[in-house]
Each structure stands twice: as structure tokens, then as C-alpha cells.
């Protein structure tokens, strides 16, 4: 093709910008307040987040509970509606991790890892269970949204980066702060089991 005028698209950057711009509003929206009153688990947060993110834009579709590798599901997958292509996955986490039930207790470190064979949080991206498109091809960049119920961002950053080391991962895999106002934005890069790298965008919102 002899095209000379088109320039590289910025669809992905626009998606990231959209998420960053809308997240603070989401947390302060009525929708979110209602959710906090009646619905409390990550799935319901995800549906509300997906709906909120689809307001006022034509481009992206946020779909909750999308299949990944094997029986794994990601909390939200984002599609470019025009090209019908999955661009990004988002895993949602609540901090501190809810206790779970007696039968199914949840690991405190779930944001980063768990001893469970199917892994947790960042670990699932590293293992390749999460962070793939519908054809199971790896996505280079993915996201984690954390609903922080108590404590400051700095406290969680320290805790999480400690868990990264506890997991015996390279210290380069620790989270780096991008900014902490009005929401927290952090970035990390991890080595997947497959040998490739995955970039994670972390968005932290306070929901106290």
C-alpha cells in the first residue's frame, strides 16, 4: 500500500487516557455510591465500572467477565468496537483483600500472588492465564483496578512491593508510582512464563 498521509493510530493511548479521566468521576458518581450500598463484590463493581466507562464515548466497549485461558475469566475486557478487537484487560481487586469464607479463605497477598495453583492478581498475568485476547494471543499491556477501602496509597505501595519480593520475583517487577492524585496510577513490568514481558497499568481508587 502506498499510503503516505496516514499516521499511526493512538487508539490504545486514548483508551488509557479515557480510563484515567473517568475513574475519579466514577468513584464519586451516584452509580458508584449505590453499588457501595447494595453490591459489594468485585464482579458487581466491574459491571458498574464497565457501564460507567461506556458513557459518553463511541469507541470502546467494556465487557465484564470475559473468558481467558482455560476456565479463567478476566473482570473486564475492553474492545475497540470499530475494529472488533480486544485491546486491554482489567482485573479488579479490593484492598485489603476480603477475608473470604471459612471454606474458601482468601490470601491477603491476592493482589500479587496466592499459593493457589491458579494463582492470583499479577501472578495470573505472569503465568499467562490472564492478559490474552479472544484468540488467546498475549496482550502487551493490561490493567488492574484496586478499590482501596482503607489506608493510604503509600502504605499499599510498600506492602505490595514487599509481596512482590516475598514471591521471589525480580525487584524490577515492583510497582512504580506514576502519580497519586486524585487517583493512584502506577506501572509495573513483569516477565511472563512464556518469556515475554507484560506491562501492567495499576489504577487505585479510594472508596472509604
Amino acid at each position: 500500500m502506498a499510503f503516505q498521509e496516514f499516521e499511526q493510530n493512538h487508539i490504545f493511548d486514548e483508551l488509557i487516557a479515557h480510563i484515567e479521566a473517568q475513574l475519579p468521576h466514577f468513584v464519586s458518581s451516584n452509580t458508584f455510591s449505590r453499588i457501595m450500598i447494595v453490591k459489594k463484590n468485585e464482579t458487581q463493581h466491574s459491571t458498574a465500572l464497565a457501564l460507567y466507562m461506556m458513557k459518553n464515548q463511541n469507541r470502546f466497549s467494556f465487557i465484564p467477565e470475559v473468558a481467558q485461558v482455560g476456565t479463567h475469566k478476566i473482570d473486564i475486557a475492553v474492545y475497540d468496537k470499530l475494529s472488533d478487537e480486544m485491546l486491554f484487560t482489567i482485573e479488579a481487586k479490593v484492598l485489603p483483600t476480603p477475608l473470604g469464607t471459612k471454606r474458601n479463605p482468601r490470601a491477603e497477598t491476592e493482589y500479587v500472588y496466592s499459593q493457589d495453583k491458579s494463582g492470583a492478581g499479577i501472578q495470573r498475568y505472569k503465568m499467562g492465564y490472564h492478559g490474552v485476547n479472544d484468540a488467546l494471543v498475549e496482550l502487551a499491556e493490561n490493567g488492574i483496578v484496586a478499590y482501596i477501602k482503607e489506608g493510604e496509597f503509600e502504605k499499599w505501595l510498600a506492602k505490595i512491593n514487599k509481596w512482590v519480593l516475598d514471591a521471589d520475583w525480580d525487584e524490577k517487577e515492583q510497582l512504580q508510582t506514576v502519580y497519586f492524585n486524585p487517583i493512584g496510577k502506577l506501572r509495573s513490568v513483569h516477565k511472563r512464563t512464556s518469556g515475554t514481558e507484560v506491562i501492567l497499568h495499576h489504577y487505585w481508587v479510594k472508596v472509604q
Partner: protein, 1000 residues
């Protein structure tokens, strides 16, 4: 000799018979080898390509060209040639290229009777000197290549279903059958008459296979009995004697299907009516001259003869019971051909190098699938054994062996197995010379091993126990248990235990799906016609759907739901799909959902036209996800981004959720039928008018066996009709201080859904009502929401929606969630204005004709604006944007030029080049004033349209850079369905994907 015909070229599909080596694939090679016998000079093929492969994987002979003298037209030789071409049913038109004149003739109609003579004059589409006729754009390669030839307004009326060789013969047979049954002195049972008719057709076929000296296979027998033909034998009451002779000659019990008692009755019967029919001098109905001369049996596909019998079964059921036989439908031949090409493509001939490819039809009916499959096996054999120089047909013993080793069928009806065997026999004889047939051709009795009369499930259980496996199972199983039988008789626990299906929880105990499950036990690949609602659309089938999509690999689902009213003639009004399934667990491959639309070709039972926009790949994880159950329905309604809209709406709380959380609110269907309770002098809502006002009957008696909660009829309440309204859902609000009734209660039947609330919530209720009947462009219309999830509306019926469809509509707390984005508005508008009519008639006054109408300037401009806006949303920069250069409408197609470059640098121009339509004699390009379109672009278009496989695509993109602009030139047919704004969004998506691949 002239070697230039229209804009046909070697590259775009023309092959000369003396240059057979230039055939592009085996289909062309095979056709040319066979058609050479009747003196064809050249054939123009419609070619089918796969992406990134320059060689067509399949071809169809659209146009045959004959070099003849000027006197040939309408001569007896011409009528005989026409009989061959029409009977074979392969070509659209043919050309007689005379010395000074060219005649172009419709190959889809039989010769007409004119003054007791057959004539072809009325079938001539045009004629004249070569210099002008070959410039007539109405015969352009693009039209044949893209399958749109018959869609031209000039020729639409020239296609006629009743003129197909099959329907034509069928109608005469049915008339004979009816008259025979009504003839008191015939005294034969219907079953005997049916058998006689079928045998007669087979004998007629044998009579028509003649050698070079005009001798046919049966000459010796006829000589012995001093009869001219079978018709003569019937008059002379020698029918049984001839049948006995044939039974001895051919073995195989083909001609030995009558009991002694039947034979006695036949001997005594006056068979002159049947003799008349076979002599064919007289049309039974019109008493006009008929018609065997219009046919050439040697060229008539044997499936045609097979298919006829299914109609006998239906006709008999109607005669005896006044209704069609449940579960038995006639499988149209064009559907059989589509599926055979899909599961046994000609190009896969190497599968048959060992002469082993076993096929089973589990409910073979008259054997149309088996006959077509057997013919394909014979073609495979030919391709495996021929060289470029010499075509080789299987010797009779090989042909017989192929049949006996590979073709299997089961049917519960003896008559069906009989007809299947007839059909297969004809397919076998078709390729043999008379001498070969006569010289000791002995049939094996196929009913012993191959074509079994049996309950399929019993047969399958035994087959499974003996580890039988077939390469392919294909067919059209019954959707209901046959009349007069109970489920226990056909499919009891013992059989089910023996079969031990992989999935036992079959939705609603669907009978056809039992055939599917049993087939999956016995075959590597299965292709069955199944009800579409239960497989794809019904919510209650989700669990089963998920299991089968995971455990098996569904490669393709051809969805004929839009054709529900016409696919099976009048025998059924059932939406169906044809599934192509591999017996392997799915490996996460998408399922191709092909939504077959109504076109002139499919409406006339000629062929299906499937184009790019009909294909919807469905991600496996979406296909099995209950929360995305509507994916199939959104595809049915045009696909593309519609899924995303409906999915977004599905995340919102529903009307039902809203009612549930309100105190003292209720929703219910109105009172049921019956008459155990009668309440006199009441007012009742009978309908809702388009203004949202109730139509009320006053002081009537309410008869019901279940009134339900009386609170429901006490205003205030909302009533919603379960039939889709005109521009919005049909609903009315009845206030407690209403003007409609003075009585405390206002009743409504189960045809309506009622939502009632306590008086204090009247305002909230009214707000809900207003939302339900909203039809603003920028807001969700509840019609769309209900249709998109309904498993009845546009599937089983045109307009019925049920309670769950209505109460499942979104009703969020934040009403801005119901506001549609610009692109969502486009989708809503196209579904409600256009796609909703996909299942309706496309004839002149049919609502479905809208989609096929000639696109107008305004619509093209709306398309172009939508495209530019959508592409700009991705690629526009500060100084550069996508703009429309020109829209040029030509008689055959429209060209749109889009350019990406300096903002406001392109001056839009609409170019009307439709003037060619007036004169009708114009070449594809010479009518174009070259000044109108940039020369560079014109030559690009010309190059693309004439010298490559592109003409075989209905949608052509040309990407190039001209004068500082990255140009995207789009060429499509003129029908509106290609130019809807929602299609512009799909096109934009394709361009975006294309650009992404190129690094932009």
C-alpha cells in the same frame, strides 16, 4: 470467428473449449470436459476465491457461448440444445454467436409453446449485431462474477421458480397423480400410483438414454412385446409384463416393488392417463402440447427426480388428513447443492484416492442428499483418474462399487428407501452408455445393506455397538415424530440407554437434536439441518448450546431464519440452520455464523447468494457465554457493532428488576382463555392504537378459566401489547382517573402484559410508560431492545414478543444510560427501518424490497459521511482528515472515493453516470465521460474491474495515493443494503484493521 464477448476476459472467467488447459480449477475442467460434447465454444465462469489465494477454489458456468450459423436460432437443433442446458440448470444465459448476429438467451426457462410448436423467441434477452450487442453493459462480467445479474430491474421478472426443471416436472407429475386418484375406474391405491409414477420416470429416463444410432436401453424388451415405448405398453395393458422383464434384467429389486395383489390391479386398471402423461403430447392440466421435448433427461440432475417423491408424501398427507405430514419436508435442491459443496467440495477429490468415503443420511427421505453425494464421489473419481488431456469416467463396475461401499441411508418409510434407491440408480446410469447398461448390468439389492428401512435410533444403536463409523453424516432429519407414532415407540428409554448420547439434556426433548446426537456417535463430520430457534436463539437451550459448542467443533452455521417462509415451500414454516460440525472438541476457533438473506435467487429456489456482510465470526467464548446469548440474534439483525450496543444494555437493571424492588407493584399477563368463569357487563381493552390509546369494548362478558389477580385490572396500570408496535412498543397508560371506563376494573387478556402500581406511585408508573413508548432518535427505542433478545420475533413469527422480552428491557436509575451514542443511533435506526424486514418478501410490494432498492444520492451521502466520521475518530490529526472525493453512480455499481490528507483539500462531487440505463447499449466504461473522474483513478478502477478476480467480489477496495491524498476507493453494487450507515461502520472497521496491519 469473433473471440471478444462483452468484457469477458481470460483473467476474469472466460475459458475457450479448445484451450481447456487454461481452466483455473477442477470444477472448470470437469464442466468443460462434459459440455464440449454439445459443441460449446467458450464458457464464462463465476469464480469463487479465498482471501490471499489467486486461484479460485470453485467455479460455476454462468454463460455458455456457441458459434453457430445465423439460421440456428429457434431451429429444432436449437430447441434440443436449449433442452439440455435448461435441464442441467447450470447456466444463467447462453450466447449464440452467429455470423452477423448475436442472440442472448435465458437458460433458466424452458422453451415455450407457441402455436403447437416449441419456440425460444420469448426467452431471447437481446439480439443484434456483435458490434453493439457485445457492448451491452447488462451482460458485464461483473454482474455474473458478483451474482447480481438477475437483480437488474430489466431481468428480475425473467426468473420464475415454476420454470425450474424441477418444479416444472413436479407440477405435471402432481397433476397426473391428482387426476389418477380422482379417476374412479382406476381403482388403484395412492401408494401404488406413487410407485407407478416413480417407476415410470425411471423408465422414461432409460428410454431417453440413446446411443449414436438412436437406440435406447429398452429397445430389445419393447421389440419383444411389440410396443413403441412404455406409454404404449400401458395402453396395451403390458405394464406388469414390462416391469417383470426389467426386474429380471436389472436385478436389485428396483422394478420389483409391487405386491402380487398390486400387480393384479395394475393389469386390470385403465392406465391411459399415465400413458398420456408419459407420451407427453398433452399437458394433463391445460391439454396443451407437453413437454418431454423441453427436457433432456440425460442432463436432468438425478436429485430432481428424487426430490419429487417427497412431494408425493406431502400431497398424500394433505389428501388424507387435510394437513402436511409432520416432520417431513422437501429439501430444496439448491440447499442440497450448497451443503454438498460445503462438506464435499470438488477440490477435496484427493480424499477419495482410495475410493473410500462413507456417507450416511439418517433420514434419507427421497435420497436427495445421497444422490448428490454419490454424484460428487463419481466426480472425485473422475478427477483422481483423469489427465489434462483425457477425461476418464468410472467403468460401470467401479461406479457400482463406489455406490455400494460408500452410500448409506436409513428411513422409517419403505417408500422413501425405494425412491432413494431409484435416485441412486439413475445417478449410476447417468454416466453409462446404453450398451454398458444393457450388457449385464446387475444391480445389487441396495435395500439389503445400503438403504435400510428402519427406525434410525434402533439402527444407530446397533451401528454404534458394532463400532460403525462414517466419514460424513448429512441430511435433513424430521423435526417432529411422524404422525400417528408416540415418542415411546420411536425413542424409548431402552434405545436411549443403548445409544448413550454425549449430551442427554436435549432442550425440550427436541426430536431433530436427537438425530444430531446420534449422528455424532457415528461420524467424523456431520452436516445436518436443524431448527434454528432451539439451537441458536432459545434462552432455555443455553446449557446445551454451551456443551455442544465445546465438545464438538462447529465450523459453520448457515442460518436460514430469514428464509423461514419460503425455504421449504408450503410444507413448513420453520426457521432452520445447517450446521457443519467436526467430531473433535473445539480448540477455541470462532464459529462462522452465516446469515443467509433473501435474494431474487433464493426466493426463486435457484441459489443462495452469500456475501461478505452475511458472514459473522462468533468468538467461541462469546458463543458459550449465557450473558451474551443474543449474539446470534444481533447477527441476524445485521451484526457488526450491534452486539456491543445490546450487550451494554444487558448490563443495566431491567423493567422487571425495577418492579421487583417496588412495594405493591405487579406485572402479569392478562386473563387466560376458557369459560369456567364469566363476568358480565365489564369493559375490556381489545387493542392499543398507534397513539397509545386503548381500544375498548364496553359492557362485554369476560370469559376465562383464570382471571388472575384482580388488582391487575384496577387502574392505574400500564398495558403492553405482545405484538411489536409500529414505531415503538404498543402500550397505553390507564390512570385511576381515566376517561376510558367508569367501572372499577378494566380487563385485558393474555395478549397483553400489565404493570400495575398503587395509586401513590402513579407518577412513577407514568414515567415508566413514557420510557417504554419512547421513539426519539437519540434514545433507546424499546422495540430494539425487545427484538434483539427475543427468541420468537423475526424467528418464529414476524412480530410476536413475549413477556420476558418486554420486561427484560433496561430501566436504569440513571436514565442517561438509555441515551445512545451517535453510532448506536445509526445501529438502532438501521435495525428498526431495514433489518427488521429481512424475512419479508422482496417482491415489488414486499417490505423486504427496501433492502434491495436502488440506492439514492442522499443515502450514498449519508453512507459517506458516516464512513468519514468514523474513520476520522481514529485517524484525524490537526491538519489531516478523511474526506469524500466523489460518489459516482453507474448502472451496475457505485464508486465512492475517500481521501485522507489536508483538511478541506478535496472538493466533493456527486457524479451521475446513470445515463447508460436509458440506452441500454453501452459498454461498462465507454459511457463514462473521462473528464468526470480523474484519469488515474479511472484506469485503476478499470484495471481492477476487468483484469483480476476482483469482479467476483461484490465489495471492492482500491487503496492508492494520488495528489497528496491516501485514497480509499470503494466499489459496491447499487442495492441499498450495501450502503446503509451501519454498513459504513463495518466498512470503517475493515479499513481500520487494514491500516493497523500496515502499521498505521
Amino acid at each position: 470467428m469473433n473471440t471478444t464477448f462483452f468484457d469477458f476476459t481470460k483473467e476474469n472467467g472466460l475459458v475457450f473449449c479448445d484451450d481447456i488447459g487454461s481452466a483455473k480449477n477442477k470444477a472448470e475442467y470437469l464442466y468443460l470436459s462434459e459440455i464440449q460434447k454439445i459443441g460449446v465454444t467458450a464458457v464464462f465462469f463465476r469464480r469463487y476465491y479465498r482471501e490471499n489465494n489467486p486461484n479460485p477454489y470453485n467455479s460455476e458456468p454462468s454463460v455458455c457461448i456457441f458459434q453457430k450459423d445465423d439460421s440456428f436460432f429457434d431451429s429444432s437443433e436449437h430447441i434440443s440444445l436449449h433442452a439440455k442446458l435448461w435441464s442441467a440448470g447450470r447456466n444463467e444465459i447462453y450466447v449464440i454467436n452467429g455470423k452477423t448476429r448475436v442472440d442472448i438467451i435465458n437458460a433458466r426457462k424452458p422453451a415455450k409453446i407457441n402455436d403447437n410448436q416449441l419456440s425460444l423467441k420469448s426467452l431471447r434477452l437481446t439480439y443484434g449485431p456483435a458490434t453493439t450487442t457485445y457492448k451491452d453493459y447488462r451482460f458485464s462480467a461483473y454482474l455474473f462474477g458478483s451474482g447480481t445479474f438477475w437483480e437488474q430491474s430489466d431481468f428480475r421478472g425473467q426468473l420464475d421458480e415454476k420454470s425450474s426443471p424441477y418444479i416444472f416436472l413436479l407440477e405435471h407429475l402432481m397433476a397426473t397423480r391428482k387426476k389418477s386418484l380422482n379417476t374412479a375406474n382406476l381403482a388403484l391405491k395412492a401408494t401404488t400410483i406413487d410407485k407407478l409414477l416413480v417407476v415410470s420416470i425411471l423408465i422414461k429416463f432409460l428410454e431417453e438414454i440413446k446411443d449414436d444410432n438412436g437406440k435406447h436401453t429398452l429397445k430389445t424388451i419393447y421389440k419383444k412385446y411389440a410396443v413403441e415405448n412404455f406409454s404404449d405398453a400401458l395402453i396395451k395393458k403390458l405394464c406388469v409384463s414390462i416391469l417383470n422383464e426389467l426386474a429380471n434384467e436389472f436385478n436389485g429389486r428396483i422394478f420389483d416393488k409391487f405386491t402380487e395383489s398390486e400387480k393384479n390391479k395394475i393389469e386390470k386398471a385403465d392406465l391411459s392417463l399415465l400413458a398420456d402423461f408419459l407420451r407427453a403430447d398433452i399437458d394433463i392440466n391445460s391439454r396443451q402440447l407437453f413437454i418431454w421435448k423441453q427436457y433432456d433427461f440425460k442432463y436432468l440432475p438425478p436429485e430432481v427426480i428424487s426430490a419429487i417423491y417427497e412431494n408425493f408424501i406431502q400431497a398424500e398427507a394433505v389428501r388424507q388428513n387435510g394437513e402436511h405430514e409432520k416432520g417431513i419436508v422437501y429439501t430444496p435442491i439448491h440447499l442440497v447443492n450448497l451443503l454438498i459443496d460445503e462438506v464435499m467440495p470438488l477440490e477435496d477429490y484427493k480424499l477419495f484416492t482410495q475410493e473410500s468415503f462413507s456417507i450416511l443420511d439418517p433420514s434419507c427421505g427421497s435420497g436427495v442428499f445421497l444422490v448428490a453425494a454419490y454424484r460428487r464421489l463419481l466426480q472425485w473419481w473422475v478427477l483422481n483418474n483423469s489427465s489434462t488431456d483425457k477425461i476418464k469416467y468410472p467403468p460401470k463396475k467401479t461406479a457400482q462399487k463406489i455406490l455400494e461401499k460408500n452410500i448409506f441411508g436409513v428411513d422409517v418409510k419403505e417408500t422413501s428407501t425405494l425412491v432413494t434407491i431409484f435416485g441412486l440408480t439413475i445417478a449410476l446410469l447417468e454416466k453409462l452408455a446404453p450398451k454398458e447398461i444393457w450388457d449385464n448390468l446387475k444391480f445389487r439389492d441396495l435395500s439389503q445393506e445400503n438403504i435400510k428401512e428402519s427406525n434410525f435410533f434402533e439402527w444407530a444403536a446397533t451401528a454404534k455397538e458394532s463400532n460403525k463409523k462414517f466419514d460424513l453424516i448429512l441430511g435433513n432429519p424430521p423435526f417432529n415424530i411422524e404422525s400417528g407414532k408416540t415418542k415411546n415407540e420411536v425413542l424409548n428409554e431402552t434405545i436411549l440407554t443403548r445409544l448413550d448420547f454425549k449430551h442427554n439434556d436435549i432442550p425440550n426433548g427436541n426430536f431433530a437434536l436427537h438425530f444430531f446426537e446420534a449422528s455424532m456417535l457415528l461420524a467424523n463430520k456431520v452436516c445436518l439441518i436443524l431448527p434454528s430457534n432451539v439451537l441458536l436463539y432459545s434462552r432455555s437451550s443455553q446449557k446445551y448450546r454451551k456443551q455442544v459448542f465445546i465438545d464438538f467443533t462447529f465450523n459453520k452455521i448457515f442460518d436460514f431464519t430469514h428464509l423461514r417462509r419460503l425455504l421449504f415451500h408450503k410444507a413448513a414454516d420453520t426457521p432452520v440452520v445447517a450446521v457443519v460440525v467436526e467430531n473433535e472438541p473445539s480448540i477455541n476457533a470462532p464459529i462462522e455464523h452465516i446469515v443467509v438473506k433473501r435474494t431474487i435467487g433464493s426466493d426463486k429456489h435457484l441459489k443462495f447468494e452469500i456475501d461478505y456482510y452475511d458472514r459473522h465470526p462468533v468468538r467461541l467464548n462469546w458463543a458459550i457465554d449465557e450473558s451474551k446469548f443474543f449474539i446470534w440474534k444481533t447477527n441476524l439483525l445485521g451484526g457488526g457493532q450491534l452486539f456491543y450496543l445490546i450487550h451494554r444494555l444487558s448490563l443495566l437493571p431491567t423493567v422487571a428488576d425495577f418492579i421487583r424492588q417496588k412495594d405493591e407493584w405487579m406485572e402479569i399477563r392478562g386473563f387466560e382463555g376458557g369459560n369456567t368463569l364469566q363476568i358480565e357487563r365489564q369493559d375490556r381493552i381489545d387493542a392499543i392504537d398507534s397513539h397509545g390509546e386503548p381500544v375498548i369494548s364496553k359492557n362485554v362478558t369476560i370469559s376465562t378459566s383464570n382471571l388472575k389477580d384482580k388488582f391487575m385490572y384496577k387502574p392505574p396500570f400500564i398495558v403492553i401489547d405482545q405484538v411489536l408496535g409500529n414505531k415503538c412498543l404498543s402500550t397505553c397508560f390507564i390512570s385511576n382517573d381515566n376517561q376510558y371506563t367508569k367501572k372499577p376494573y378494566l380487563y385485558y387478556s393474555r395478549d397483553f402484559i400489565g404493570i400495575s402500581a398503587p395509586e401513590k406511585d402513579k407518577k412513577t408508573l407514568k414515567k415508566l410508560w413514557k420510557t417504554i413508548r419512547e421513539n426519539k432518535v437519540e434514545q433507546l427505542n424499546y422495540q430494539l431492545s425487545a427484538i434483539a433478545v427475543s427468541s420468537s420475533c423475526l424467528i418464529l413469527t414476524e412480530t410476536d414478543i413475549n413477556k420476558n422480552d418486554i420486561l427484560g428491557c433496561p430501566y436504569p436509575q440513571d436514565m442517561t444510560d438509555l441515551i445512545l451514542s451517535e453510532q448506536e443511533q445509526i445501529l438502532q435506526k438501521d435495525v428498526l427501518n431495514y433489518y427488521i424486514h429481512c424475512g419479508k418478501a422482496i417482491s415489488k410490494n414486499g417490505a423486504g424490497a427496501l433492502l434491495h432498492a436502488f440506492v439514492g444520492k442522499d443515502q450514498l451521502e449519508e453512507f459517506a459521511i458516516t464512513f468519514c466520521k468514523a474513520l476520522n475518530s481514529v485517524y484525524e490529526t490537526k491538519g489531516k482528515s478523511t474526506q469524500v472525493g466523489f460518489i459516482c453512480q453507474r448502472p451496475l455499481y457505485t464508486i465512492c472515493q475517500f481521501g485522507f490528507g489536508k483538511i478541506n483539500g478535496l472538493n466533493y462531487e456527486y457524479i451521475d453516470e446513470m445515463d447508460g440505463r436509458e440506452t441500454k447499449i453501452n459498454t461498462l466504461f465507454s459511457n463514462v465521460n473521462p473528464k468526470k473522474i480523474d484519469q488515474t483513478i479511472e484506469s485503476l478502477i478499470k484495471d481492477k474491474m476487468t483484469n483480476s478476480g476482483a469482479i467476483f467480489n461484490k465489495i471492492i477496495w482500491i487503496y492508492t495515493h494520488i495528489n497528496g491524498y491516501d485514497c480509499m476507493i470503494l466499489i459496491k453494487p447499487n442495492a441499498l443494503r450495501y450502503w446503509l450507515p451501519s454498513i459504513a461502520l463495518r466498512d470503517t472497521g475493515d479499513v481500520v484493521n487494514h491500516l493497523k496491519k500496515e502499521g498505521f
